[in-house]
């Protein structure tokens, strides 16, 4: 027994060699399996990267529903401050922000393509705006009542109910991210099942050989190891391919997303697929491939007939 090795790197190297031999034995079937895994892994990956792009796109200033109170141009600064202070004292008002007319013009000029237009004005045409964040839904009675009340105020020119579009979109985005996570979980579970099924077929095909291995004193670990490596190799290959799909998918959505981001006036750059986005499918594929194969590669003792 002194010349026998029961584990260690050589045993694993032998198992990897045996796994690759089995993979080469039916390359088309195994390649299709890898491709299926890659597509499954890439799906949530691309969706996640695209959603992150949308996240960047959304304006951060308007985060809750509220009112934009456009003040008359002839109102003095002290009246404006008094109006803002009065509004802040109301229970339903969460925050009050005064956006001065110059500040508004500056923001307008920074929007893509509007700089020249703004420069053409002889004087600032914008009013001061008091932006209120309200603890109520846009359609609620409280919001409507406050809007009507403010419209009756002589200092106010008109009132606009902000639908909290950004907030709603952000909620939709969070929902989307959750859905992607659910999808990812289902896909990962499906990958384990796919690998488990494929490995079980492989084990069944090798039944005669495994019976011999069992009979000549091969351990379960020895018999199982090549199948686990098969799953691991296929999972890793699927993961690498999936990373390629994610990278390619990110390139495809980069241009339209960048245009959208610019239209919304956001300056934060969308970085596309990050190294982590590319690493995750590889890690997930490798681990899940090995896990699925490990589950399937329970090699039964087979009696000789």
């Amino acid at each position: 027994m002194s010349k026998q090795l029961h584990g260690g790197p050589i045993a694993h190297a032998e198992a990897i060699k045996e796994a690759t031999r089995r993979l080469r034995h039916d390359p088309v079937r195994h390649s299709v399996g890898v491709l299926v895994m890659a597509l499954m892994l890439a799906l949530p990956g691309v969706a996640w990267v695209a959603l992150r792009g949308l996240d960047v796109m959304l304006p951060v200033e308007i985060t809750t529903p509220g009112l934009s109170v456009f003040v008359r141009q002839d109102i003095s600064e002290s009246d404006l401050t008094a109006l803002a202070d009065n509004l802040l004292m109301r229970d339903e008002v969460l925050t009050v922000e005064v956006v001065g007319r110059n500040q508004g013009l500056e923001a307008l000029s920074q929007l893509a393509g509007l700089g020249d237009l703004v420069g053409a004005f002889e004087s600032n045409p914008l009013p001061d705006v008091v932006r209120l964040a309200i603890d109520a839904l846009p359609q609620s009675e409280a919001m409507q009542a406050l809007s009507l009340a403010l419209e009756g105020d002589p200092r106010v020119d008109f009132v606009r109910i902000d639908q909290g579009l950004s907030n709603e979109m952000r909620n939709a985005l969070v929902l989307g991210q959750r859905l992607v996570l659910v999808l990812a979980f289902m896909v990962l579970a499906a990958i384990v099942l796919v690998v488990t099924g494929a490995t079980r077929i492989e084990v069944t095909r090798a039944r005669a050989e495994l019976a011999l291995v069992d009979l000549v004193g091969g351990t379960q670990r020895y018999a199982r190891r090549p199948f686990v490596y098969m799953g691991l190799i296929q999972g890793a290959a699927g993961g690498v391919l999936a990373a390629g799909f994610v990278w390619f998918g990110a390139i495809l959505v980069a241009a339209p997303l960048s245009r959208l981001i610019t239209l919304y006036g956001e300056s934060e750059a969308w970085v596309g697929a990050t190294p982590l986005d590319l690493l995750l499918p590889v890690l997930a594929g490798t681990l899940l491939g090995a896990l699925g194969a490990r589950i399937a590669a329970r090699v039964p003792s087979v009696a000789w007939t």
Partner: protein, 219 residues
């Protein structure tokens, strides 16, 4: 080397072995004979733990086969060689790889394997077919490769289940000569066969089974 103590094996109502008791000494060679269905294969399967007795005890060397743990079972099987009627070679592996299988399964050092395989193939006079695939061999050559695989790891016990069943008389004699050589080298050999002529030509002990009962245990 082998001790069967009142071994009974039942499959439901059917009795496959009925209170079988016998023993084989180390380096003893014996034939296990009987009609088809007499229980020969069942008895051999007990000796490699593919079956467990319903009653009684089987000892091989110091191993009480009832008490083998899952970890001990592979270690025990590495001390046994098995030859089948159909040698069950792996069709997509070379002769070398087929013979090397027990060594690889037992975790032998890669450097040791070629020498061991060559020695085993030399014993069956097939070392020149090292790289051939089983499909390229005659049935006699395939059987001898199966024997080389059974002895490559130098087992203490060699079991053969109808090893000459598919062979002509001349080849059968050659195979028997090989088994005798292994026995002369200290291996305990138990051969199950229904070929009466083959048995009568050999000077070894005969264990005769009839409907699961051992009805003869001598020369």
């Amino acid at each position: 080397m082998i001790q069967f103590e009142n071994v009974t094996k039942r499959y439901g109502q059917r009795l496959a072995l009925d209170e079988v008791t016998f023993s084989l000494d180390p380096a003893e060679m014996a034939f296990l004979v009987g009609h088809s269905g007499a229980g020969k294969s069942t008895l051999l399967r007990h000796l490699v733990c593919l079956e467990a007795p319903s009653e009684g005890r089987v000892m091989v060397g110091n191993f009480d086969l009832r008490r083998l743990s899952a970890d001990q079972l592979p270690m025990f099987r590495r001390k046994v060689g098995v030859v089948f009627q159909d040698p069950q070679l792996l069709p997509d592996r070379s002769v070398f790889d087929n013979v090397a299988l027990p060594l690889r399964a037992a975790g032998f050092d890669r450097k040791v394997i070629p020498g061991r395989v060559k020695a085993a193939l030399d014993q069956v006079e097939l070392s020149h077919l090292n790289g051939a695939l089983p499909g390229e061999l005659s049935s006699g050559q395939r059987q001898r490769v199966g024997i080389a695989r059974a002895v490559v790891h130098k087992p203490a016990l060699l079991l053969a289940d109808e090893p000459t069943g598919n062979l002509d008389p001349e080849l059968s004699k050659k195979i028997m000569k090989l088994f005798t050589q292994f026995r002369n080298h200290g291996v305990t050999v138990l051969i199950a066969t229904h070929e009466q002529a083959l048995v009568e030509a050999q000077p070894f002990r005969v264990l005769r089974l009839d409907q699961g009962r051992l009805v003869e245990s001598g020369r």
